[in-house]
Symmetry: C2
Subunit: 389 residues, 2 copies
């Protein structure tokens, strides 16, 4: 196992770190990865993990089947960063803007099998034109909208689907298949509803693949996925690959959805107590929304977790203690409204860890992970993150 910068930090403890900072419990991450791998294996599909969540090559290498991939990304910056680190099979899973095609071609010329996504005839024609101009058939998946959530061709828009397929296949690009993302699974009220959403996602994608093939067009890839549907899908007949991202760390939103338990959350923000307002029952810390992100996803779930669940430095939650409010660089810890628990005594300088609403958003606020691997309180490695576009 290769750890980045291991030597430099081998003797440092979590309690000696600057705060706020991002803590990653590798044991929990490893268990989360194993769970998703086992799901993909049981369902008989290739796992193509979404690396927009970790934005770290150290994490990526632990999720991907091989150091070359496959992988999914949400920006060309991610594609470029992972390509530089040796990843060779990458799906850029956001609809392509024509002004990004030069960067796509540049990556393909470096030997990266980069696939892009289109959902319109104009988009397909732009890719076909760039394919002809650059002498490389750029591989494309047609994005499908199986849940009304964002971009993509609806499964009943067969004419649109075939027109895009023909524009790609007949005008110089490579039609590689179809992809969909059931983002609506984040709003499901039960695991039964997630199961149903997974089947809706599968059925829509497979129907579109069949429509393309029926029309004489190629469709080798049928790509589906979101962390909830990936974990609760019962059958993926006709699907070739599964995409999911947030499962690697999980977060309070996923726990609220019933997709994981709070104990599975591998990511937290380490922060230091900087003051108290005793009459209000407030404990102030040096992590505000800059360190936690402004994501308040759990506000619309059954249990609002505010800006996060507060744990001690070893990761054990304090009963009913949450980050109730934030300023840019200050968080206010307090008991949940109506709680009968006792506010813990956390003197000035005490360090705590806060579990986030949304791992992708909180992670993005930080430049590295402080990796812990056991209960010693030792920071075993610092893994860098990147960002940008």
């Amino acid at each position: 196992m290769t750890l980045t910068n291991t030597d430099a930090v081998a003797t440092r403890l979590l309690r000696d770190q600057e705060t706020p900072s991002l803590v990653l419990d590798e044991r929990l991450m490893t268990a989360n990865i194993r769970r998703m791998r086992e799901r993909a294996h049981a369902l008989g599909v290739q796992l193509r993990p979404h690396l927009k969540t970790p934005k770290s090559i150290d994490v990526a290498r632990r999720i991907m089947d091989t150091p070359e991939g496959p992988a999914t990304v949400s920006t060309l910056q991610e594609a470029e960063q992972f390509a530089q680190a040796g990843v060779r099979d990458i799906l850029y899973a956001v609809g392509i803007a024509p002004n990004k095609l030069d960067r796509v071609v540049a990556l393909r010329r470096q030997g990266v099998d980069l696939t892009i996504v289109v959902d319109s005839v104009e988009g397909a024609q732009a890719v076909a034109q760039k394919s002809r101009a650059s002498g490389t058939r750029i591989p494309c998946l047609i994005e499908l909208d199986t849940d009304g959530h964002r971009a993509g061709v609806a499964p009943d828009q067969t004419d649109r689907l075939l027109a895009i397929g023909r524009a790609l296949h007949e005008e110089g690009a490579e039609l590689r298949g179809v992809m969909t993302h059931a983002g609506e699974s984040y709003n499901c009220a039960s695991t039964q509803a997630i199961e149903a959403m997974a089947e809706q996602e599968r059925r829509g994608a497979v129907a579109c693949a069949q429509a393309l093939r029926h029309a004489g067009l190629p469709c080798p890839v049928v790509s589906v996925g979101s962390t909830p549907t990936a974990l609760f899908s019962r059958d993926l007949s006709g699907v070739t690959e599964l995409r999911a991202g947030v499962f690697v760390f999980f977060d309070l939103f996923m726990a609220g959805l019933g997709v994981c338990s709070q104990d599975d959350i591998a990511l937290s923000v380490l922060t230091t107590v900087i003051g108290h307002q005793e009459d209000k029952g407030w404990i102030l810390v040096d992590a505000g929304w800059m360190a936690m992100s402004r994501d308040r996803g759990t506000a619309k779930q059954k249990v609002d977790q505010y800006y996060g669940v507060v744990c001690d430095i070893d990761g054990k939650p304090y009963p009913d203690l949450v980050m109730r409010e934030t300023n840019q660089e200050q968080g206010i810890l307090a008991l949940r409204p109506g709680s009968t628990a006792t506010l813990p005594d956390l003197p000035l300088g005490t360090m705590v860890r806060v579990l986030p609403n949304h791992a992708c958003a909180t992670g993005a606020q930080h430049d590295s992970y402080h990796v812990i691997q056991d209960d010693s309180g030792r920071v075993a490695a610092h893994w860098p993150r990147f960002r940008g576009w």
Copy 2:
């Protein structure tokens, strides 16, 4: 006027930039700075701009009275970055954690007059102890809580105030004064309410300064401020300095509060159309919450601006077009609910600019400003931003 990297970008146009990216209209910024300067001058106080908003030395030099300051920061990383660029008079305006005092001492040893903030006897004692140990009297302001918003000593807690003052003054630190921030002004329903909040902020700070002086303790500095109270204060008798940050760019939240007009907002996110869902009236763009931030501050104001107001590439708003929803790297533009306006025809590849809810949060998602100075569409400079702690 010195522009960073001017030569490298002198011939580039906004429409040639990678998206999403952050655009700064320097003309609007200059007018916003002039307005705040004139306020401070009229009120007879020193302006100590809060540099947590820009996190850029290029912007900082245009706000500060001199290249050496004075300035306010929200993290020690900001203090270190600005110190490296020559700023010498810095207030770190977040309650100090004892584990940060070594970095404070290091900056002071480099010749930076760094002032810190405490609001407890324990905190004061930790600073006094570090002062003695390091042989430098670390200057402190006592944080006051004049509006129940976050940290600080309430104006009626005179015993607590004097105990902190004595611990600082008599045990080895430097008691330099008091500071308060009327964060509650962000929740005011009218400019009259902001005026009243400004007077409450002033009165509380001055009363505490007088209590300290009455007890024989020094209190040369009386520091107040927030962008709303700074702009609507009628009188700052007894106050020595004014802090404000977001005024440099303004944003939709400040416009909703009546503190500026939407036309004053100097910051926007440039983004490209990547698709359409015609039956839903949606236009998809390549800026999602990663580029805009998750800040939805206007959701609780009279007019909800969703994730932002959409303008053309020249900065002119489209009637009723807002960013209604976001995914990580995709935004959904649509008309406001109930609007009778016509959805503009924005073909694939069209670039638009989106005004943000909160300039501090949106700016933090980006690594540089693309600076425009006129209507030519030319990018005159790229100014780097930094981040972290």
